[in-house]
Symmetry: D2
Subunit: 134 residues, 4 copies
């Protein structure tokens, strides 16, 4: 199983008045993980959108929050594919605070493949193969 | 069971290059639903934070996406409490596109009660009672 | 001179750890003002994008911040056009906290008209006339 | 004059339905530049907030947009201080697309120093000196 590691630093804009990262931003971080996962598989997600007209629409998201993240924290996002089918892919993520090494969140997103009009389609073979070899 | 209805209109800023609302924004909409739910129960969430020092930290979120939302769409968020305990509350949400009346998403958030330092605490009795009478 | 009034309530997601609205969100509010201004002129901005393929690209933004906005505040955005030419439009905005009636920000955005590929173009006559009659 | 260089990669969440980065996000990028500028001066901005209770409230922002940024683009933010006084600091920014080396935006933010209650104060001497030596 292949796992990508992405590093980000928490932005001020990502905090809320509780003094911690607003929870919806963890979904943005997962998407950074997906982008890096695709790149590691040998393609840019942007290229799959443009060249093959194929998009990974999110149909389901889950996230469990275990500890807060704070402004300027260094964050590690680990991303892997737990299920890959001709019309669907499931990504898993763990999110760690780098200094403390604490697991602060884990999550999953389910995606179907759609064309530019939002119609369901099969994975273009090239990208299915690239993801398979992860 | 009490259900709150919140209406919003999709902002340009909420769309992404797929031409639809970026999925993380549905979590922001759920939070608008929670704010209105508290108001309907007779208190402002901001007041609970300031006066009782109690916060509802998100520990888990789930969202299923059934259809896209688009810029300038009118959106209806329905919010209700499915479980209320001394230290935890679970909110459920359905999100509809108003014109088509289509259900476009449904979700759930689980919250624990914490003080301003993030320590777990029990619901202040006043707010527990207000939410109970929902 | 025609002025549109838009009302919003501050979202939790819009605050930052300073306990006030993150400054970039005022630009999002200005865009809500623009959307309502277009609607008052008799067209939906989304429709101008889709039907005429014309977009208002932001080429310059200015905002002065006079006082903070806070979670759950009711906010009034006033929007008007200060200059309209065949290839450019300038919008002005004032932003007030409704309860205190304090002016909390004022700003300006300059836009050029572009097609879907980002090329400069003239205003489609229909939309120029609608904005002129504002 | 000291100039900081910050590199980011455009996130999918930062795009809008025009297919380019939503303009308000450039303000978020400028704040990343400020954070790095402070770090280069020998302190963490988060530390100034926590230890000295001093914050840099944005009182004015200007941004000129020269060309769009797109998903997955590598972006370079250059940041410097153009004016530093006992109660105010002005930051300037240029933003480049790395591959094309095109200048895509430039901007300026003006900040006053406030305490945690939003009251104006003088720069804590330590941080004024650190910024002076840039």
């Amino acid at each position: 199983m292949v796992v990508t590691e992405s590093f980000i630093r928490v932005r001020y804009a990502e905090t809320d008045q509780m003094g911690v990262v607003y929870h919806a931003n963890f979904l943005v971080w997962m998407e950074i993980g997906r982008t890096d996962y695709c790149r590691m598989c040998g393609f840019r997600y942007a290229e799959m959108e443009q060249e093959a007209g194929a998009r990974l629409a999110v149909t389901s998201v889950q996230c469990r929050y275990l500890a807060p993240a704070r402004y300027d924290d260094d964050i590690l996002i680990r991303t892997w594919v737990s299920d890959l089918r001709s019309r669907q892919v499931i990504f898993h993520y763990t999110i760690h605070q780098v200094n403390t090494q604490h697991l602060i969140a884990e999550g999953e997103t389910i995606h179907t493949v759609t064309n530019q009009d939002g119609k369901l389609m099969r994975f273009p073979q090239k990208y299915f193969d690239l993801l398979s070899n992860g």
